[in-house]
């Protein structure tokens, strides 16, 4: 009989560690700097959003802070990239998963999907798109950074033509829209798939979560003995 008491959180018998403390701190630095970047960037993106600069203490402050936050984001994202890249390489089952994506978007549809390792194809998509887009944002951002270019020219003689700056501005704004959309997908998925946020707050997820969404990963964790049994008390 299928369980109908879905509104109660079922009792958790097994917890599975998913992210170490340092990975979580790294993730939250990325998350916070990304959010601030999106807010300060959107403030300049369109006049209707210019009042967002008030959050940063005015237009001059937002303009000044944004690129430095960008450097922080790029460096901290690089940390996440190194940590997670090995689990994010594409595999054959990703294609099957993607071809059945409508099941992935329905609660309970997991049964029709291949067993997933640490990351499913959707998560891998978020990972690779953000890696690519942040790199594009970093490079294009530097090319439209008044102060930064001044420092770069003084230090290494690096100059950017105005025509390049125009391309960079267009590319930066486009990539920013894309990265924000991917961010919305990422945050919504974490919220929709209940129990996911635990991974980044407590560092572990319930065994049931692993069974439902990342069964192949759960099997591996169990094999490795890397699970906690809070209910057994041992």
């Amino acid at each position: 009989m299928t369980d109908q008491t879905v509104n109660q959180t079922p009792e958790v018998h097994v917890r599975v560690p998913r992210y170490s403390g340092s990975a979580r701190i790294n993730h939250w630095i990325v998350a916070i700097s990304f959010s601030l970047l999106a807010l300060s960037g959107l403030a300049l993106f369109h006049p209707s959003l210019f009042s967002l600069t008030a959050l940063f203490g005015g237009g001059q402050m937002a303009r000044w802070l944004h690129p430095w936050l960008g450097i922080l984001l790029a460096m901290s994202f690089f940390g996440l990239f190194i940590r997670f890249v090995s689990q994010n390489f594409p595999e054959r089952t990703d294609i099957v998963w993607l071809s059945r994506i409508r099941y992935a978007l329905t609660p309970g549809g997991e049964e029709y999907l291949p067993e997933v390792g640490k990351y499913n194809a959707g998560q891998k998509f978020v990972f690779w798109s953000q890696a690519f887009l942040i790199l594009v944002l970093l490079l294009s951002g530097i090319c439209i950074w008044e102060r930064g270019l001044h420092y770069l020219e003084a230090a290494v003689g690096f100059r950017v033509s105005i025509e390049t700056m125009r391309w960079a501005a267009l590319i930066h704004a486009t990539a920013a829209v894309m990265t924000i959309v991917v961010f919305v997908i990422h945050v919504y998925s974490a919220f929709w798939v209940r129990g996911t946020i635990d991974a980044m707050t407590r560092g572990s997820v319930s065994g049931g979560w692993g069974w439902r969404h990342h069964r192949r990963w759960l099997r591996r964790k169990v094999r490795e003995g890397d699970v906690e049994r809070p209910s057994n008390g041992d």
Partner: protein
């Protein structure tokens, strides 16, 4: 000689135009002004310029700016480029005329052209940092400027410069403060040869016509007025002896216009971008409303326990 503008009455005067005369304001809209000021223009007659730089000195003087002592870079250009302090700079070109095989020394006074369609204003993200009056003057309002440098990307003439002191953008104001009390720009006042004259745009065009006739009579059959239509004309115009090739005058653009890249960056794409972001949020909300949360079930937890049980 163009009749010089009389010396001012030195008593305190009320400015002749102000914010009520704005026709454009960056990143914001302005009410349609109740009156139309007479469009003004500065005419720079390149053929009359002797390169004395009195205009540069007058500009520094009137605007109370000081330029750093420069270095000789092997040219008469000094400073070698516009800076936040040097709002105008004489650009010297040694050009060999292929038709006559003679050297011509071309001297162009560079600075803001006060475009009728200003790319700087179009690109600026800060409300009210760049304004345009109905007499054609484009001015930067420093207290609203955030120093982002978007104006540099927007300008087809490579004019604005960001100050490293106050992080705001600077360019020629066409001496809007002087014009407001019936004076001409300081550079015009200082020019000893009347290579710079100032008046209404119509007067300047008429004056240019006479100058062009004169030049043509002297053998410069390509002499003409530089009032580029790509930016709907400018309120700083040049008389060029070789108006068929403006680029020989230290890369004056032949056909300046707001770059299509800037138009794409600042145009409808912005609404598309905001729309796409809004759409992604709406899609999430709809998905949630139709599908509900994806919760782990009791069965999932039990399965996980059994799996762990088997192993241990």
């Amino acid at each position: 000689m163009f009749p010089p503008i009389p010396n001012p009455d030195v008593s305190v005067q009320k400015p002749g135009f102000g914010t009520q005369d704005l026709v454009r304001r960056s990143a914001s809209t302005v009410p349609v002004p109740t009156r139309q000021l007479t469009p003004v223009a500065k005419l720079i007659d390149v053929s009359k310029c002797i390169g004395c730089k009195a205009c540069q000195a007058a500009c520094l003087e009137w605007n109370d700016l000081r330029e750093k002592v420069g270095e000789n870079r092997g040219s008469y250009d000094n400073p070698e480029d516009l800076t936040p302090d040097s709002l105008t700079v004489m650009r010297f070109t040694e050009w060999i005329n292929p038709e006559t095989d003679t050297l011509e020394w071309l001297i162009r006074k560079d600075g803001c052209m006060h475009c009728a369609e200003p790319g700087c204003l179009e690109a600026c993200p800060a409300p009210g940092a760049i304004v345009q009056y109905s007499n054609g003057i484009v001015d930067f309002i420093h207290e609203n400027c955030i120093g982002c440098g978007y104006c540099i990307k927007g300008c087809p003439f490579n004019i604005p410069r960001i100050s490293r002191v106050d992080n705001t953008a600077y360019k020629c104001t066409l001496c809007s403060d002087r014009v407001a009390v019936g004076q001409g720009p300081a550079c015009q006042k200082a020019c000893p040869t009347q290579a710079i004259v100032f008046g209404t745009k119509d007067e300047m065009k008429a004056w240019a016509d006479a100058r062009i006739k004169d030049l043509k009579a002297r053998g410069f059959d390509k002499a003409g007025l530089y009032d580029p239509p790509g930016v709907s004309g400018t309120h700083v115009m040049y008389v060029l002896h070789h108006a068929d090739k403006p680029h020989i005058y230290a890369s004056l653009p032949d056909n300046p216009r707001i770059s299509p890249l800037v138009k794409a960056w600042k145009g409808a794409g912005k609404y598309a971008g905001l729309g796409v972001i809004a759409l992604s949020v709406v899609a999430g909300a709809l998905h949630y409303l139709t599908q509900g949360p994806n919760r782990v079930t009791k069965k999932d937890e039990e399965e996980a326990e059994q799996l762990a049980e088997k192993q241990s």
